[in-house]
Symmetry: D3
Subunit: 255 residues, 6 copies
């Protein structure tokens, strides 16, 4: 257990790039596992002239979902993105291509989407918190045989009832004829991209610390002071201390 | 009865602009007659953030259909365009926005589209020939109550079984809960645009004839010679002559 | 008289969807009433190849105006959107298609636009406040005969001097050869879309109140407490009480 | 050995849909096999904000190449498409998104592209003829370790020197650190899409034959008469007869 | 005097790339010479948020004009492209961005455009033939002071009455307050791009000739045989021979 | 020395339009000075079909950089925009065309970009502060001979080591074979656009002052009170007073 660096709006800036990578990657996984030899229903995401493209439903319009929808749109697929935040949906409506439909997410709409979707991306997650569950096991029976679910929220417990963690070496399993891809740490498969993305967000903190020392930086930056778990042999974060029943140093408490 | 000017590929260049006008206009008619006070189902073509847009089916991918699909796409609606000419569908796939799906038209696909469409544009017409009939009366029962059909092919008899000509003053009627708009001479309502469009295609012929005289031009241009119905008191077109049981002058026969 | 739910930035979230619907709908009304049989100048919004499209001026770049401009752009028309908020114009410049020009609104520019416009959308309104008047009666004389004004601000008094409320059954009238469409409650004509849009924004409040009771919710949520006009037989909103000369309960005053 | 249906321009219309499917599919295969667990270099096609996307080189601008480039562009990757037909490149320049660069293909350009590409799609094929070889074994040494080649031309022998046919169950192998994907019959993996696509092009011929009988149709249609290999126990195609050293019936010879 | 290589449709394929370069380059010249220190009217092509962009008129929708319009559109300017070929205008309408309006070119429209244009590109030329004159000297008086004309047709005599050839070292002059840029051989200024573009189209011919010898190639290729002006000390092209009053060899006459 | 009007977020709203103008203008300057007669490398920004476009690197993703990238993208060039603000890069990724790549700016990436760029735009400036220096003199040696640098930051000292101010009459000079364009007050060349842009942002302040008097306005508006340097013969701004060693009036000190 550890505590991640959070900015003053409660965002976890060091995890954002991993959400971006996983969101974009989810569509290429979906494309692949819809192939028949991978047990999918044998449909090509973008269709061809004369044949309709696949229907893709993205549950969640945050970082993961928006990145998934962008790539899905690039396949010329028929894409729906669902969220409960109307301001977010309005922004997505402004910047997404016209084959992305922005829908308010309620139970009825989620179920209607599951019936028509060839590919569902579970993208409802708040990094660091448990993902809400949007799809129940019985909902799967409405889905087409051979359709595919990519549950990107799996690192936070998944937003699909039937999700359980898998790995890059054995990425999928099948429940009620629906292929489930629930690989934890998806970005690990594209390490070259992920590493650069991660460095871009950590570098500014590293440079600050290297130049000024951790104590000086912690004094000036609340995100950093709050993210220090251990320092000089002492536990310095209250939540971590409580979890492990250890004493907590007051060293960075003022922040 | 008369014979129109046809070029050497059998196209009727003087009618093309009217097809363009009617095709583009069909979508604004559809938008209007989907409103509830016009007896439509009360749906906004483009939807709004959070609410899905309308589904629009365009039957035919020729001049009328392509122009209808362009405007429909601009509403951010969910558009399908159907044709049996694969080369045409491939070209449309190249130039249409991603919310236009190009489908091969067969009986099964037409019927599946009718079930989901809020607006259907009948655009299967060959200017000068009788339009093929693609939608039977019983097919209408699959359509949603309050959905709208715009039959642009009405000037050639219509491509919907239940179409019958209407006018700008009384443009619609209802059959099986489906609003029918079958106005003949649609372009007449936007005369300013239509007149310019028509002049653009006729002007080159008019200038030629004014400068050189009809006889000289007819000798050089087969499209013109074939389009002369009457000249100096004589019927000069064989088809016209036969229709009316009159003698036909050989004056322009060489062409 | 009543007081609407306002969030802490002073926005009226329950009215936003109606502005979106009316904004998008304004263009299809404009397209229709520009037709000659509707007394418009007989011009097709999008033109056709060879003939220029219509010029559309949208007065106001807020929710109504931005939604109007999006649909207008989809017609391939020549669109100008005017506002005095430069930050807003910069954002619109980022997300609008290239046939939308973002102009700073001053008296000179408004008048220059009126001269060239075929369609003018009055979209300067702040829900809940009286709309500012941007177009005077004498300005209409600069407009082309048969041009059309859609005054979406009519529910707040209109932003055109010659606007007066009309209804869906008799939507237009003519002043100085300019067609005026000033239907109050435009979204009522597309009730299916409007109802969903409205539910999307009210549902979260309804669920909260149903689960916790109005009193508990009012304590936690200032937007809700401020929006309660009457409760248990008492007037609870100060402004309402003053308007009607009634006593005001202090029940929700703390918020 | 058999002879396929060719139209009068020498195109093979029944194979076109398979080229479209394989072209679009090539990019999702490339995306997948660039992942590190699949032995690729661990790069995400579209990159993320802050990190550059992959470079994709498509060798050949025909049906396969154009369809590959469209999907590649949708990933926001940096795409180059090479061909020697300038008229084709000009058309592609008109209809492709701006992240697709159209390059004239010569030996120098091909080699320069190999150095920068993360993904190479071999799309130089004329259905029915042996594919020209554009990449030699020594060229592979210029490529980045872990880059990927998808040789769609493998059904016609491949356009990469080191290509050899593979299958969906064992799709890739590695030569000089470059992953090779050379699955024959790629469209078989998306059978649902491929079958519809194939039916769309064969149906018109099937209907003709069912309605009129093969002999009548063969008389009217040279593409069909030329495509008949066997009829009523006789070999009817000269090339087939010669290949197998059998006598050739003159039944359809007149065409 | 010489005769250029023409294909069987009468196109001059070796000159096309130069038209493409000059067309695209014309807009950057226009942008530059509209600056005040270059004597232009001091207007920025694309405008900025709040200020309208420039109006650009492109006379001619062939290779030069289409390439000019593409770049002009990229500046977010207000672009009109004029031609008399309706089929060409329809294609341009399909592939150009929405800020390009495709207009039928007649005397009235040209003059109306001159009044509103900040930049005019003269692009009406048929390589190898004298350009038609579209703008008379008196028309210039309708133009705004400081507006700019780029006459790309200058190598064929120019399509503007007041055009006279200039050079890269002294590119502009002023007539009736309108800046004229009439540099002959515009592509010379971007030699790196032009040389590659030229090689791409000549290389296939060069390789053929190098491999098979000129005589063998001339026999097989009519475009090449017709383009040979001199061979082995003899004039081999009839037109050239007549021009210079020399005897003409029959060596390649059969083609 | 003077103090400019700053809003409460520290932005300088009166300078923003000048940054927009300079940013957009930088690309047309780059296009021009890449021409060979201007000593550039003779490359056309957008290339032509068959020949690759130029590579453009924009250092800085603020107002100047985003406006430069937009116009650069419109040339169909290969554009990279660099910044260290990840939130800004994410927004740019949402709204820029796909030929703009958003890169995190670090020393390594800047140097890699310099090697491949034909045109570099220095756009790292905070109006009113000294620009950071991103390119050292030795870095220029990595650049291609004839490449061009436009240093828009020159008014704040430039972000390129070798930049020194130039003027519209003598705009460029060459260091290490790289053309430098470092004109101060770039917007002066497009005065018509710049003046309107400037009026749009100053007018609201001018109207306020004209209607209410400077003293009344200064009391209500901190941006205005802080921007008053001199009033009624007294220095009223502390920083100005200190710079010139003069006494400072307390008249507007309360703000």
């Amino acid at each position: 257990m550890g505590v991640a660096l959070a900015d003053d709006q409660g965002r976890l800036p060091l995890l954002t790039p991993m959400s971006e990578v996983a969101g974009r990657m989810s569509i290429q996984e979906g494309a692949k596992y819809l192939e028949r030899p991978q047990m999918g229903r044998g449909i090509l995401l973008g269709g061809v002239p004369g044949v309709a493209p696949a229907s893709i439903t993205v549950l969640g319009g945050g970082v993961v979902g928006a990145n998934a929808a962008k790539i899905a749109a690039g396949f010329n697929a028929d894409v729906a993105i669902l969220d409960i935040n109307m301001d977010r949906l309005r922004y997505l409506d402004d910047v997404m291509p016209p084959n992305v439909t922005c829908l308010f997410s309620d139970r009825h709409t989620v179920r209607a989407q599951l019936e028509r979707a060839d590919l569902v991306v579970g993208a409802v997650l708040i990094p660091g918190a448990k993902a809400p569950r949007l799809v129940e096991e019985e909902d799967l029976k409405r889905m087409k045989p051979g359709s595919v679910i990519i549950d990107v929220a799996i690192d936070q417990g998944g937003c699909i009832a039937t999700s359980r963690p898998t790995s890059h070496s054995q990425p999928t399993y099948i429940v009620h004829d629906v292929v489930h891809y629930c690989v934890t740490n998806m970005p690990g498969a594209v390490g070259r991209t992920s590493t650069y993305a991660l460095c871009n967000v950590t570098l500014p903190y590293v440079i600050q610390i290297a130049q000024q020392g951790i104590e000086a930086v912690a004094k000036k930056s609340r995100p950093i002071s709050r993210a220090i778990n251990l320092h000089a042999g002492e536990v310095t974060n209250k939540a971590v201390a409580e979890t492990f029943g250890m004493p907590c140093s007051e060293r960075f408490a003022g922040n």
